[in-house]
């Protein structure tokens, strides 16, 4: 739990700094894929591994997973329909039969309508989510963070010894 909270605090810190825009956007895109697809499939496991290997903001990914999972629950019937359309497509039957009988690939559970539907939607929209997240993060920093930093309240907070103590602590152990 502590690790999770640390990741989320890190996310908030980076979000309010000037760095790591791509990391945050990648985290949101990854969280989008994880939130959309049902748990317990090979692709979910692979996405999690990628999240650990590459410098993707884990806090952003965790928050995005929770956020998009709620939508995914509502959108299940849509995913089911999309999955059925894909899995019943006549032209793809040969391909699916091969995949169904190949090693490893059955662990993706691609033959399940919800897994297929959410996978198609999740992976197809992930690049757009990445780009959109980048734009939104930049806009947030320009419009919200910059303005907030100019407020008297923030300046007063910055002047306190508690804040200075926190900055020092963050430099040393953060």
């Amino acid at each position: 739990m502590g690790l999770l909270l640390k990741q989320i605090f890190n996310f908030l810190k980076i979000l309010n700094s000037d760095t790591g825009t791509n990391q945050i956007a990648a985290g949101i895109a990854t969280g989008f894929i994880l939130g959309m697809t049902p748990a317990m499939s090979l692709q979910t496991f692979l996405v999690v591994i990628l999240m650990f290997i590459f410098r993707i903001q884990i806090g952003a990914a965790l928050l995005a997973t929770g956020f998009f999972a709620v939508f995914a629950y509502i959108l299940d019937p849509v995913f089911d329909s999309v999955g059925q359309v894909v899995l019943e497509a006549g032209a793809l039957q040969g391909l699916f039969t091969s995949l169904y009988n190949m090693p490893i690939l059955p662990f993706t559970r691609f033959n399940n309508s919800v897994v297929m539907g959410s996978g198609v939607v999740g992976f197809a929209l992930a690049p757009f989510i990445f780009l959109l997240a980048r734009v939104l993060v930049q806009k947030y920093r320009e419009k919200v963070v910059a303005r907030f930093k100019e407020t008297k309240f923030w300046k007063a907070v910055k002047a306190t010894s508690l804040y200075k103590w926190y900055v020092k602590y963050d430099e040393l152990y953060g």
């Binding site: 049902p38 410098r55 039969t97 169904y100 490893i104 033959n111 399940n112 309508s113 919800v114």
Partner: protein, 651 residues
Amino acid sequence: MTNSMDNKETKAQKTPKKKGPIRFEAIIPTIIVVALLAAYMTFFFDSNLRSGIEWVGTRVHGAEINVGNLNTSFINGTMKIENIQVTDKTKPENNMIQIGQIRLGLVWDALLRAKFVVSDAAIEDIGINAKRKRPGRILPKSDPSRSQINEIETAALDVTKEKYNKNILGDLATVAGGVDPNAQLKEMQNDLKSEKKIAELKASLKEKENAWKERIAKLPGKEKFAALKQEFKALKFDSKNTVQFLKDIQKADKILKEADKEVKAITSAANDLNKEVNAAGKDIGQVDKWVKEDIADLQTRLKIPSLDVGDLSKSIFLNMLNEKIGPYQKYIVLAKEYMPPPKSERTKTKSEPLVAPRKRGEGRTYKFPITKKSYPLFWLQKATISSKSNEGGFSGDISGNLTNVTSNPAWVGKPATLDIKGDFPAQQVMGLDAQVVFDNRKEPTQSTLKGSIQSFPMEPLSLSDSDDLTFKVNNLVGRSRFNGKVVGEKMALNIANVYDKVQYDIDSKNKDVKQLFTAAAAGIPAINLRASVKGKISALAWSIDSNLGRELGKGLKKQVQEKIDQAKKQLEAFVYGRINKEKAALDNQFKGLKNQVDSQVNGKKAELEREKKKMTAQIEQQKKSGQKKEQKKLEKKGKKLLKDLKKSLKF
């Protein structure tokens, strides 16, 4: 210079080192996660799987199943299960079956495809009826986790629950010892079913009588028709006055229509009433059926048996056979569920509704064809069964094979088979030889069973344990041949058992009864039992024949049959004596009512129809005579015109 150098150093210290796209610092956490996973697989997975097998097995079987030890090797793809104990539901202190060891070798190529294929397995040290360390737990019928299995079991047992007297020998002994039903009948104050029904019918007939009378009174009577008749008579049909004549004809037609309406109304009312009367008649006709039911019911309550030789064998052995065979029917259902034949288009649409509520991520799972290089979800290719008896041990000398148990028999293309041969010396079961084939490759599925046991012991058979008679068969050592077939929903099973050198334990308070049964049993040194069960699994019918039933029947017939017949006559006399008077009254009530309806309604209807016919005939006559007169008039006029024309033309 020194200052600028210092500044540079501080800057280098302050600016954090730029990190690359790969998170190298995650290596250690990843290793920790992998290590934890490996630790779980090494230390806990086997134990969890063992508990899972015990839990599921116990629910399916209905009594405790224990697994002594379980070892899996992920790298080698092997599994070893040791000391499997299946509690006997009827004797929880014993194991129904006990298996020393099962070794499974899973094919890695199949595991990578998420399929479980066992290329070679060994089942060793099989024992039956071994004593348990502590009695096994029997799951109550109400256990919610077993509700589905319970349904299958209950359905299987219900179909064989034929109503046969479980203590027929005891009842025969009671009759043989002398029984006077009259004494017991006098004490019976309860209403007979037929008596109750007759009273109900009488009350209902009384109600109907009033209702019918009201309806008859409301029917169009003579008055209405007399008025119409009067109206009709008033018409003059004066042919001299053509206009008036036509008006009269029109009026007569109108009266006729009115009369027709009345006749129709009375016809419909008469039909309705006749229907109701006939229905009441049918109900009254049922009285004889209820009387017979009452007699049969009293026969059961007073324990007066029927000495039918066929039924005697059935009554003696049906329960025993039901208890032995009934519980195994669930395995036929389970085999069909887990080794399903290919679905026809019809069953596909039936079992897979397109719109169904589901949980998150459930959806529909599509099954694509399995190619030649792949495998079905589960396939036990071959398991070798071997077991050697050891002194003091539970296991038998068994050998056999189990082949092609699979979740997709159509793809495997071979039926699942079990061949087993051997002895269980400790349990005195010798010469077991059985072959079972489950052929679920196509619809209809076909399962066959064939086998024999050369010698097996049985618990003493208690055929009667009442005050009037104790009849036990001891020293039951039998031999058995059996064969059966289940094709689709139809089952046929034949069993032929012989129990040699049986000993009877017969006792009764009444010396004559004891002598009678002892003499009858003396001629039966060995018991033969031939049983067959046929029909749909949902409606099985047993046919049982045994020399025990036949010989006992013959031996008892002389002494007992006369007494049974006498007792039955007394019962009939009792029932008819109670209901005869009421039945006669009911019959008279109905006859009277029927006559009333016939005479009043049907008589009225006939009379009105007669009157209507008369009117119709009169109108027709008037019309015809009117037509003739008009014709003559016209002819006259024509002739006169012709005459006038001739005159004017001076012909």
